[in-house]
Structures are given as structure tokens and as C-alpha cells.
């Protein structure tokens, strides 16, 4: 195991010399992403407050950055990069499929309930 680490990130754009060096590299990456998130959250740039696919662009940016962070935590900290492709697929695809299904069905239903309240069928503004 000790020598079996894949030391490339960004599809080989950055190559690290040792596993330890790769860990620090990934830490720097994760810190940069978190800093960007916090700064965006405090500034809230005007052009990102517009709605896109029924959510603010800013929120899409946050979610995408979160998935980027999740990828590097799983791939480098949890050594998913070094596991066999079959193990990778078993873990990742199962989770992603089930989570997408769950999200779709719940968020869809929440929108429906919001409309029901919004159109005044149920009164709660007192």
C-alpha cells in the first residue's frame, strides 16, 4: 500500500512528490475553496443574486464548491483515488443515485406545498 499512492490531482496537472506533500496540497486547495465561499457569503455580489433554475446563482456556486470539496476529501483524504474502480463505483454511484432521487422527490413536493400556501388555500398570516 505504502508506495501505491496516485500522486496526481487535476488529472495530472499537478503532480506531488510524496503522499505527505499531496496531503498539504489538498489542504491548501480546500482552504482556498472555503475562503472563497465565506467571502462570497459575506459580500453577496449583486450579479449572483439573480435566480437561475429556481435558485440564486450564488447558492448554485456554493453547492458546486461544496461538491468540489467533498470530491477532494473522499478522493485524497479517504484514499478513494487508490482504491479499485469497482469499489469507487459501488460507493459513489449508489450514494449519488439515492441522494438525487430523495432530493428530487422532496424538493418537488415542497414546491407544491409552498404554492398551496401561497395561493391562499391555507391562511397563516395572522
Amino acid at each position: 500500500m505504502a508506495d501505491a499512492h496516485n500522486l496526481e490531482i487535476f488529472r495530472g496537472l499537478i503532480k506531488f512528490k510524496s503522499n505527505t506533500q499531496k496531503i498539504w496540497g489538498v489542504l491548501i486547495l480546500l482552504s482556498i475553496v472555503t475562503t472563497v465561499e465565506v467571502v462570497l457569503g459575506i459580500i453577496k455580489p449583486e450579479f449572483m443574486m439573480e435566480s437561475f433554475l429556481s435558485m440564486k446563482i450564488l447558492n448554485w456556486v456554493f453547492i458546486i464548491l461544496t461538491i468540489v470539496k467533498a470530491y477532494y476529501i473522499t478522493w485524497d483524504f479517504m484514499h478513494m483515488r487508490d482504491e479499485t474502480p469497482s469499489l469507487r463505483r459501488v460507493v459513489v454511484w449508489t450514494a449519488i443515485f439515492l441522494i438525487c432521487y430523495l432530493l428530487w422527490i422532496l424538493i418537488q413536493e415542497a414546491g407544491y406545498i409552498f404554492n398551496t400556501y401561497d395561493q391562499g388555500y391555507i391562511k397563516r398570516d395572522f
Partner: protein, 325 residues
């Protein structure tokens, strides 16, 4: 029975020691656990999303709720402290992965040192979370709940900043005390009284012409502020009782569901961190007494490390969905 083909390797396969997908039994089982636990957390977060989209135009704005930093009292610093907590957890993930790496090279002293740092990071994180809870439960400004279950807050008409109840509520002498189950109607009680009653808030509001009411309804990313006349009418007609801080029933920042999910999800995550710390401590002592040195492999550090990184992974999502989005 007859369809099974007997080969020489079959005996070895079923006799154990076989590694499907080149991962050992322990690691594979940890991955099984992580996937199922990830689904549990997604269930919670998806339920949070459900409630949020259900009340999409009246959900509390997280920036206005989590503005506190220890030792910097009275300053509004949204997200700074939670960013610090995130960094602490990522940092402890890094020391964990360094411990795993040192384990691969059979360096006992290094594993010990990095495991120790990981535990410290975890303790700092759980402590910060406890502080965050305490601040949230205590609240800072106070608000009034209406008969319809909505929260109305008090803001300065000019600056639009929130005004605390204690800054304008009058004090009316009263005989009213908390109803405990030892007196009055037996075995009935009520929660602790708020520091101001609704009458005191209404009287104080009437004599402070510069204070208006802000409702939960969000328009153009800001909560709606009522005019002075509307505010007075709203408070007198709809005001039901005073809310200070947050609990499972009421929350001065808006929808009670926000507080419920906050306590449940961050609590469940905090419980994971806590159990992670316990596991880390057990492994830490095993490293010290040389269990893994004798075993010839530090794989146990790797397995507990997987769990620890998973806790970090969940926090990344909790951070996004509770504090950023």
C-alpha cells in the same frame, strides 16, 4: 449442489483472507457503514430542504442568526466563527491522514503525535459547537410570536437594525410568577417566564415612536418592514407571546423548524464527532502500547481515519446548507 464447480481456489475463497475489490474486510465494512450513514445524513438534509422550500419566502436568513464570535461581544461577524470551525475540522482531517501515512511507514512516534493532534482538533470543534448552541439558545434580541405562529421582530425605523426588547420594553410591576407543578393546580406547570411580558412590550413599543416591526416575509432578499401604523396594529391584534432565544417550540429568528433542524442535524453531527473522538482516543492508546506495532500493520488507524474524514465530509455539507445557502 451439483451445479457448483469445485475448483482448487474455492476452498481459499470461502476460508477467509480473500479481499474483494482489494480492500480488507474491515475497510470494506467501514465503507458500507459510511454509505449508509451518508444516506441518513442526506435524509436529514433533504428534509431540511423540504421545509425550507415549503417556507421559501419566510425562512430565517442564516447570516443574521449566526453572527457571534467568542470574546468579541456585541459585534456582528457573520460566518467568521463557523468558518473557523470548518477549518479546525479540515485541519484535524489532515493530521489524521498524516497519521495514516506515518502508519504505512510503521513510524510509531509520528502516528502517536498526529493522532494526538487529531483528537485535540476534534475536541476544539465539539467545544465550538457547544458554544454555538448555547449562543443560539440564549438568543440576543427577543421577538414576539403571533397567533398564526409567525415571528415579528423589532427594528429601528431609520437604521433598520434590530432592537432588543430590553432597550424599549417597559417594566410593569406584576404578581405573576412561574407556575410550577408544586403549587396551583397540581402536576401542571409552565416553562420559565420571559424577561418581559407581552403587555410590557406593547406599552414600551407605543412610547418608542422610532421602532417598527419586521415580519418574516422576504422580498428582494430582505425581510419586509411594516410602517409605524401597521406595526402597532400587528402587535396589538396578532401578538401572542414573547419569544427569547431558541428552543424546539419557538425561535426568535423565525420558523421554529429552522431551530428544530439546526438542533437535530448539528446535534447528530456533533454526536458523530464525539464518537469519533472516543474511537480516536482508543486507537491512540493502542498505538502507544504498541498493539499495531505487534500486529505488523496500522490498518486500524486507517479505518478510524475513514470514519473521521467522513465526519468532516458531512460537516462540509452541513456548513453549506445551514450557513451559506
Amino acid at each position: 449442489m451439483s451445479s457448483t464447480v469445485s475448483t482448487s481456489s474455492q476452498g481459499e475463497v470461502w476460508a477467509g483472507g480473500n479481499k474483494p475489490m482489494k480492500a480488507s474486510y474491515g475497510k470494506l465494512m467501514m465503507w458500507f457503514f459510511i454509505v449508509s450513514d451518508a444516506l441518513t445524513f442526506s435524509g436529514f438534509l433533504a428534509a431540511y430542504g423540504f421545509s425550507r422550500f415549503k417556507f421559501i419566502n419566510s425562512w430565517p436568513i442564516a447570516d443574521e442568526v449566526f453572527t457571534h464570535v467568542p470574546f468579541l461581544h456585541g459585534q456582528e461577524l457573520p460566518m467568521i466563527y463557523v468558518a473557523f470551525m470548518t477549518f479546525v475540522l479540515i485541519m484535524s482531517s489532515v493530521t489524521m491522514v498524516l497519521a495514516v501515512d506515518a502508519g504505512h511507514h510503521m513510524k510509531k512516534a509520528k502516528v502517536t503525535f498526529y493522532m494526538f493532534l487529531t483528537i485535540i482538533g476534534g475536541v476544539i470543534f465539539v467545544g465550538s459547537q457547544a458554544w454555538e448552541w448555547a449562543t443560539f439558545i440564549k438568543g440576543d434580541f427577543g421577538a414576539v410570536k403571533t397567533h398564526g405562529g409567525n415571528i415579528i421582530q423589532f427594528v429601528d425605523a431609520d437604521s433598520n437594525h434590530r432592537v432588543a426588547l430590553k432597550d424599549f420594553a417597559h417594566s410593569i410591576p406584576t404578581e405573576r410568577v412561574q407556575h410550577e407543578n408544586k403549587n396551583g393546580i397540581l402536576y401542571m406547570s409552565e416553562p420559565a417566564l420571559t424577561s418581559y411580558s407581552l403587555e410590557e412590550v406593547i406599552e414600551g413599543f407605543e412610547s418608542s415612536p422610532n421602532i417598527v416591526i419586521r415580519t418574516q416575509i422576504i422580498k428582494d432578499n430582505e425581510k419586509t418592514v411594516l410602517s409605524r401604523e401597521e406595526s402597532l396594529r400587528m402587535l396589538k391584534e396578532n401578538g401572542s407571546y414573547v419569544v427569547e432565544g431558541a428552543n424546539l417550540k419557538d425561535n426568535e429568528y423565525g420558523s421554529p423548524l429552522f431551530a428544530d433542524f439546526f438542533f437535530f442535524i448539528t446535534g447528530f453531527h456533533g454526536f458523530h464527532v464525539f464518537s469519533g473522538i472516543i474511537l480516536n482516543i482508543i486507537v491512540f492508546f493502542n498505538v502507544i502500547v504498541g498493539t499495531y506495532e505487534k500486529r505488523g500493520s496500522y490498518e486500524m488507524v486507517e479505518k478510524v481515519g475513514l470514519y473521521w474524514h467522513f465526519v468532516d465530509l458531512v460537516w462540509v455539507f452541513v456548513f453549506t446548507f445551514f450557513y451559506l445557502v
